[in-house]
Point group: C2
Chain length 443, copies 2
């Protein structure tokens, strides 16, 4: 049985491995528009910021590893059409290619900012590692840069450019960083760090045009013009579904392909995974799109395994997230206060400012935790955090808690490791849960 | 109502705060044999190791804070007897003192090694901060030291002495470090670090005598004599229950006071908390004694709150633990493979060697996770870990999982934060859970 996968990102490579895992006899062919496979695009901002010394280090596996695994990858190829009835795709230079099973993993594209000047040179959409290598050389000569939107990628690029000594301006229509996801108190320490690093923040500010002729020389905003040698366009991620839509595959309200918990589309024999699909949020039941590489990889594995004749299920998501932002780690699960209020989700809340180690131990860092609970059951429904260490592990933990209905009472009475070098007497999660219960008179 | 608390450690101070929290009108009196209160004895090894620059930093609160809180602390006092019928205690220098409610928080003492020479000078039992300050000065002149038992305190002292440049020998009857708790594969990296630091490990070796006249000059062991200027006696912690036993308060099989989930003893009006009690292990139902300062403090709060007229419950324990050991963080929950085998607890198991950040990000560290599940339900029942970061947070997480019946399937499909600087594509806990399910053909 021949499984064809369109896309060589995290979802596509996950699907390729999944299809082979289901049955090593499966023929697996991947079409990718890139020259490479199995590298970590998430690492690109950190090479620009000089935390990582070479793009070469971002490669996860060599091309030969895929050859050895019996996965046939067609690099630098463009798929121009899908025919669901004939069970074929059209590939530039190869013509008509047949499949028994198809996995669509076409990923994302950045939302078009929709302003004049979008064709100027000097607009950097961070995505492809080969392009990033070229952009990295240009960064040496950049004096002033604008980052359009303090999105997750924007946050990493702002920090990278500032580390690089470039005068960096942020233009964002929201009132604060990660305005779609994060609460203002969570990102406040990040914004303070950036200000200390010389970054200039222009929030509540709309992008109106890219300025220049040939090359970009600045941006026009609702707050005035800003000169710039380079503009990083970090608008939000949209599903890249031109092919799927043209083939008649059903898309949801987010523009992502609708799939079942087996990652199957509404069309028999066709699966999809990664940034081109939408998945259901476990608490709000709202469809979500554009999650992380970890989600894409896990979805790809399920899609590929099922396409290859296996049977696996992908669960609803609770979306633990986290990142390094300036000198802070920020993160959370599900949603925070801002989103809960704007979606009208009833909740109770607790906050604690704790620490990561014994107060006297070197390297001790603040850890601020906000927990949201369902008002009647007190089940955890969301969390946000900012601190100096342990944010990713706590976000993973709290995502399992939300998924499995763990209550604020459970967290308020949780045991915790106390050992001066690695943990404080009081775990900040427990303190935040205790605070939430006190706030409703149940502490 | 007058609440008297015997003991000024973590349990005693927790109880004092708890009694005041239950009702600010409560009269609260604490008797402690030490000159100080509210310092962190857990920090002592790290001052000896020079990670922390002064004993002064270990104090958590000033004596005036307790005065302001209305808690009456009698320092450097010795309680010599408890009369349960008369509701009094005998205090040296104060005579007979009455109470309405009593909280016993008399802590632990190190198990007597039971060998000749126990009265020599130069045997260091780490406990009191004032004594530690004196010992610290002596350490400057110590060339060779022996640590008796690689217990939790022993582990920290071995590392501290080695950091201090002292030739350090470890004598332990067990075959490996933390032989009562930890699995050999978990502590192997710790033992390798110590060996690299010049520490000499004498496992499977019994202490037979402290040698010397007046001052210790070495130890006699089943493997021969070892010269030493100083011996750290880090035998296991025993409940310090001479007073309670003499008063007729019921002790359990561990020697710890038996309490209910409200921390009440079998005697009306008397509560107990901390290292002098025993509590039930949530999985094995075995009584445990000698847990951590965090446990003692939490138990103390419950005991004091209930003694003060409130009503709180302390849950069975699942004992997340963790510590810095040489250059590793080690930790776990409940029990590991060794203890499960020796207690005859049926289990399935999975292991994974993961990483803490993206493989290419500076500071990435190995994280080894072992998970034990109940064979039928696949509920998590234990875990052990060793790695470079995030061990305490994972131990806290897994303790909640054990307590709330989270399964290996839940963990195998958990979402995780993937962001190069703070988390790897695959969470080691998820990988270990997947491995456990593969091992039983359910992967």
């Amino acid at each position: 049985m021949k499984t064809v996968i369109i896309g060589g990102g995290a979802a596509g490579t996950g699907a390729a491995g999944g299809a082979k895992a289901a049955n090593p006899q499966n023929e697996v062919v991947v079409y990718t528009s890139f020259e490479d496979i199995a590298y970590s695009p998430c690492g690109i901002p950190f090479v620009h910021g000089k935390e990582i010394d070479s793009f070469q280090r971002l490669f996860l596996a060599a091309k030969e590893d895929y050859v050895r695994a019996g996965i046939d990858i067609h690099y630098s190829t463009t798929v121009t059409g899908i025919d669901l009835n004939a069970k074929t795709i059209q590939v530039t230079g190869e013509g008509t290619v047949t499949w028994d099973r198809l996995v669509i993993a076409t990923g994302f594209e950045y939302a078009d900012p929709g302003v004049p000047g979008g064709d100027l040179d000097g607009l950097y959409y961070v995505k492809d590692i080969r392009a990033a290598e070229q952009w990295d050389k240009r960064l040496d000569d950049v004096k002033r840069a604008v980052v359009v939107e303090a999105s997750p990628l924007g946050v990493e690029m702002i920090t990278a450019l500032a580390h690089r000594g470039i005068e960096t301006h942020v233009v964002d229509p929201n009132p604060w960083t990660l305005g779609d996801t994060a609460d203002p108190d969570i990102v406040a320490p990040v914004e303070k760090d950036w200000t200390d690093m010389g970054v200039q923040l222009h929030f509540n500010t709309k992008l109106e045009a890219f300025l220049g002729t040939g090359s970009v020389t600045g941006v026009r905003t609702s707050g005035g013009d800003l000169p710039a040698d380079l503009v990083v366009v970090a608008t939000h991620k949209r599903p890249n579904n031109t092919l799927a839509a043209a083939a008649g595959i059903k898309l949801g309200s987010t523009g992502g392909i609708i799939v079942g918990n087996d990652m199957a589309t509404y069309v028999a024999g066709v699966w999809a995974a990664g940034d081109c699909i939408e998945v259901v949020h476990g608490v709000s039941q709202v469809p979500l799109q554009g999650l992380t590489g970890s989600h894409a990889y896990a979805q790809g594995k399920v899609a590929g395994f099922n396409a290859g004749g296996g049977r696996k299920v992908y669960s609803p998501v609770y979306v633990p997230w986290g990142m390094l932002a300036a000198n802070q780690m920020i993160g959370g699960v599900s949603f925070g206060e801002t989103l809960a209020v704007s979606l009208g989700i009833p909740h109770i809340m607790g906050v604690a400012n704790g620490i990561s180690r014994a107060r006297y131990y070197p390297g001790v860092q603040p850890v601020r935790v906000k927990l949201l609970g369902e008002p009647n059951s007190h089940k955890l429904i969301g969390a946000q955090m900012v601190g100096g260490e342990g944010i990713k592990e706590r976000a993973d933990f709290l995502a399992v808690c939300v998924r499995r209905g763990i209550t604020l009472e459970d967290l308020a009475t949780m045991e915790n490791v106390y050992s001066p070098a690695i943990g404080a007497l009081n775990e900040p999660i427990a303190l935040a849960a205790q605070n939430a219960l006190e706030n409703v008179g149940r502490g």
